[in-house]
């Protein structure tokens, strides 16, 4: 048997690769990316800088091509200027001329409207040209950094002009950002548009939270350690609080935000995903399918309480003083109708019907113009069943907690009781902190870098799939429906931790929100 015969059946392994060789980074194969909506915030602040940073780290393939598509009367050098500016302003790694030269030779720009057949013909030609000149080998990712209402147009055009069908051995991938619909029906509709054209494994939904180091660290914390898992269940855990708070208002996002609100914007995707990672069982392995399977199991077992009036809360920020600055309320924001009932704060209680979590409520909250910008997951434990101390000794002792700080100040906090120094026996809560190193160092990649690289590598574990999206909507839809037919959001002063109804909601269960 000759070597060619063997090679004919299975591709011979690359002799330079060895799984023990963990220094070698994963470099994407030859490919290119087409961005729709190059002038938007997302492209300029996140996607384009991340692409530069990847190039700077040597993780992009030689000959990587970046095509911009927008309704602008531009030439390629105008596009290059936009990328250059965004890289200068937002890239995390230092600007290097030679990296820029390498990257910018692969820039192309196609002007046109999303309904413009000529423009998409031109895009087709540009991609063919790139395959010839830059060796992108027919592999292209289409990044839709545009409002979802344009998705059907663009996807149809991609199909019509044969851009979505890869030649043999190559791939075409679609990258979309949240929101993945605004309820279950629209999510399914959007999906049917997408899945008509792209197979499920070629669709990458970006939830940038899942690209964050600390979120991935949840898996390491839970499944690589011995001392968390035994207590990670309803025998020891009292409840779980997941918070994502922002101190800013909606800024210039009125057009997007009004009518959507905090629950749809944040709870449906980020918080549900965080909850799934905290609550899921151990996956059989860490490949995409096993992870997804466990997440789906959790999401499928989520149950809303019966009385939504007592277990949910929503709010809208009013005028107030936030962090020493006088700010207006939501209704005073530009382009917001004075009658808007959009929620800028949302809190819900969820139960998970599994043996592990039965009886342990998960409280999810998010909001704008809250006390400070913070995202964290707090697993709060039950009190010790018996305290062999005087009652006075433990008066100040709270519940033990393991807190995963997602941002800012990434890390893990453990809260437990310790004796107050002195002759009396007095026990009080103390915090033990682990700060996640390397957050601001060049070598720690940003979430978008990780995710874009994963798209180019075709590595899907960090991307939620259709099923997860639909399951989350199934949980959230009844809440939003209930809200839309019952009153309006409670106003809370800017710079505080939300409306009184949120406090009451936990007080009914005999609990309090952490001040994160």
């Amino acid at each position: 048997m000759t070597t060619t015969e063997i090679a004919g059946r299975t591709p011979a392994p690359n002799p330079l690769r060895d799984e023990r060789d963990r220094r070698l980074p994963r470099i994407a194969g030859p490919c290119g990316m087409v961005i729709f909506g190059v002038t938007g915030d997302l492209s300029r602040k996140k996607v384009m800088p991340a692409i530069y940073d990847l190039a700077n780290r040597g993780l992009l393939p030689p000959g990587f091509a970046l095509v911009g598509f927008a309704r602008r009367d531009w030439a390629t050098q105008d596009f290059a200027k936009i990328v250059h500016d965004s890289v200068m302003e937002h890239a995390r790694t230092p600007f290097r001329e030679e990296v820029w030269n390498q990257l910018s030779r692969g820039f192309r720009f196609v002007p046109g409207d999303f309904s413009d057949d000529v423009a998409f013909d031109q895009l087709h030609d540009v991609i063919a040209e790139l395959d010839r000149e830059r060796g992108t080998a027919g592999n292209h990712a289409f990044y839709l950094a545009i409002p979802p209402r344009f998705f059907p147009d663009v996807i149809d055009q991609l199909k019509k002009h044969g851009l979505a069908d890869p030649v043999a051995g190559a791939w075409r991938r679609l990258v979309v950002e949240k929101p993945f619909g605004h309820d279950l029906a629209s999510a399914m509709e959007l999906n049917s548009v997408i899945s008509d054209v792209f197979p499920a494994e070629s669709v990458f939904r970006i939830d940038h939270y899942l690209g964050k180091e600390t979120v991935q660290n949840i898996l390491a914390l839970r499944f690589a350690n011995q001392f968390f898992e035994p207590v990670w269940n309803s025998n020891y855990v009292d409840h779980v609080q997941i918070t994502m708070a922002e101190d800013i208002g909606i800024g210039s996002r009125a057009g997007y935000y009004d009518g959507i609100g905090a629950a749809r914007d944040v709870i449906q995707n980020h918080l549900m995903q965080l909850m799934a990672l905290i609550a899921m069982e151990e996956p059989v392995s860490f490949d995409a399918q096993s992870l997804r399977m466990e997440k789906q199991k959790v999401l499928r077992s989520v149950r809303l309480p019966n009385r939504l009036d007592l277990t949910t809360s929503r709010g809208q920020y009013g005028p107030g003083w936030a962090g020493g600055v006088k700010v207006g309320g939501y209704l005073q924001e530009e382009d917001i109708p004075s009658t808007s009932t959009t929620d800028t704060f949302a809190a819900i209680k969820l139960e998970i019907d599994t043996r592990r979590w039965a009886g342990v409520p998960f409280y999810l909250r998010t909001g704008k113009r809250l006390g400070r910008r913070v995202t964290e997951v707090a697993v709060v434990f039950k009190r010790a069943p018996h305290l062999p101390f005087d009652k006075t000794a433990t008066e100040e002792l709270g519940e033990n907690a393991a807190v995963i700080r997602v941002q800012p100040d990434e890390g893990v906090t453990m809260r437990f009781g310790a004796k107050v120094p002195g002759t009396a026996m007095e026990i009080r809560d103390v915090n033990m902190d682990f700060a996640y190193g390397g957050t601001f160092v060049e070598s720690s990649p940003e979430a978008y870098e990780r995710l874009i690289l994963d798209v180019l590598l075709g590595d899907p574990p960090l991307f939620p799939q259709l099923e997860e999206v639909e399951l989350s909507w199934k949980v959230l839809d009844p809440v939003i429906e209930y809200w839309s037919s019952h009153g309006k959001p409670d106003t809370y002063p800017s710079g505080t931790w939300g409306p009184q109804s949120a406090v009451d909601m936990l007080a009914r269960d005999g609990r309090v929100w952490r001040r994160p």
Binding site: T3, N14, D18, R22, G58, G63, Q102, A137, V441
Partner: protein, 376 residues
């Protein structure tokens, strides 16, 4: 904040560190390792600066060790810096103490966490046997930092390899190796031979030759160029050459058959980046171990003077494949065995190295590399 302690000892230093941490109001330590930097008066500023910048990614206690004159009374001076993402202590030792630096360092190691030692310049010939090196599970040397005798330096380090040793010359070629592996991903062809061109005295190029020889089982030649560093790597395939050429140390030209040439940034990285890469993994680097073993074999066959008369037997002998490379995976061992008879397995790359190492050397055979490739 910097604190100076003169004529002090380890427990006074430990107490001062603790006091400072308390004073700063944050008694908890997020430090994950102790980094020993063995340096001298001339270099300590730069070396510690690099170590501190790396400490942001790997929060660590940095202990700089400076051995001063061995004459006179034993004395220890310390300079403590606290803040940022860790603590650093510069230890200056004089007199008899210079022979017992580990006695100062041992009590200052962070409990139950890894210890890494880094020699930014001159390293001991056998780092694992060095009293400071013995404290660490990772020992980082830098053959390229020697002012002369770099080729010899990497050979010396290779011969005294022990698990946990690594050299920054190896770290420097990670991007090259990654690109070459990517090239073979894109164009999976059998490699018939190859050339690494680099400036004359370049330990990284020696390691790259050894790595390629070891992985591909073919002769890789070494050519001398003007630099900087490694300037090109060419691998011959049936369909034409795979080539990465970097004439300026910044931007490389990437060539594979049947595809347009493409530029790719291949910057020579600075020390902080190299050190950060080293600290990311603290377990023994198996691939490096295999590469240095190969380097020794190549050198032995070329007839270079061994670094030490008592070189380790495993690195000199040309036993059968299974004995020589116990760690090799079965597939690659089989591949090599198939490629060459065990007896001339070690000789083939070596012969080609003779051509490359000194083209001037009289009596060099004509293109043995090609012959070797054909004989396969």
């Amino acid at each position: 904040m910097t604190i100076e302690l003169t004529s002090t000892n380890a427990s006074a230093i430990a107490a001062a560190l603790l006091a400072e941490r308390r004073k700063a109001g944050s008694p908890s330590m997020g430090m994950v390792m102790t980094l020993l930097v063995v340096t001298d008066e001339g270099d300590h500023y730069d070396a510690l600066k690099v170590a501190k910048s790396v400490s942001r990614e790997h929060p660590s206690r940095i202990l700089g060790v400076i051995k001063r004159s061995a004459r006179g009374a034993a004395n220890l001076d310390a300079e403590l810096t606290i803040g940022g993402s860790g603590e650093s202590v510069l230890l200056r030792m004089t007199g008899e103490l210079t022979r017992h630096p580990e006695s100062v360092v041992l009590p200052l190691l962070l409990p139950d966490s890894p210890v890494v030692v880094w020699w930014p310049r001159k390293a001991p010939d056998d780092p694992a046997a060095d009293p400071l090196g013995a404290l660490a599970q990772r020992r980082i040397t830098d053959a390229a930092a020697m002012e002369r005798g770099r080729t010899q330096a990497i050979l010396t380090q290779s011969r005294s390899y022990a698990d946990g040793n690594t050299d920054l010359s190896w770290t420097r070629i990670t991007p090259w190796r990654a690109l070459l592996a990517a090239a073979l991903d894109q164009y999976p062809a059998r490699i018939r031979g190859g050339v690494v061109a680099a400036e004359r005295s370049n330990p990284s190029a020696d390691l790259l030759v050894a790595w390629l020889t070891d992985c591909l089982g073919v002769a890789i030649e070494r050519e001398t160029s003007k630099g900087p560093g490694i300037t090109s790597v060419t691998l011959q395939t049936g369909g034409g050459p795979i080539e990465i050429a970097r004439p300026d140390g910044l931007l490389a030209e990437f060539t594979i058959p049947n595809a347009p040439n493409r530029p790719v940034a291949l910057k020579r990285r600075d020390l902080a980046e190299l050190l950060a890469e080293e600290l990311r993994r603290l377990d023994p680097d198996d691939i490096y171990a295999e590469t240095v073993k190969r380097l020794c074999k190549i050198a032995d066959a070329t007839g270079r003077t061994p670094a030490k008369p008592a070189a380790r037997p495993s690195s000199t002998g040309s036993d059968g494949p299974s004995v020589a490379d116990p760690k090799r995976s079965p597939t690659s061992a089989a591949k090599l065995a198939k490629a060459q008879k065990p007896s001339d397995r070690d000789a083939i790359p070596a012969r080609s190295t003779a051509t490359k190492a000194s083209a001037k050397r009289p009596g060099t055979k004509k293109t043995p590399a090609k012959k070797a490739a054909r004989s396969r």
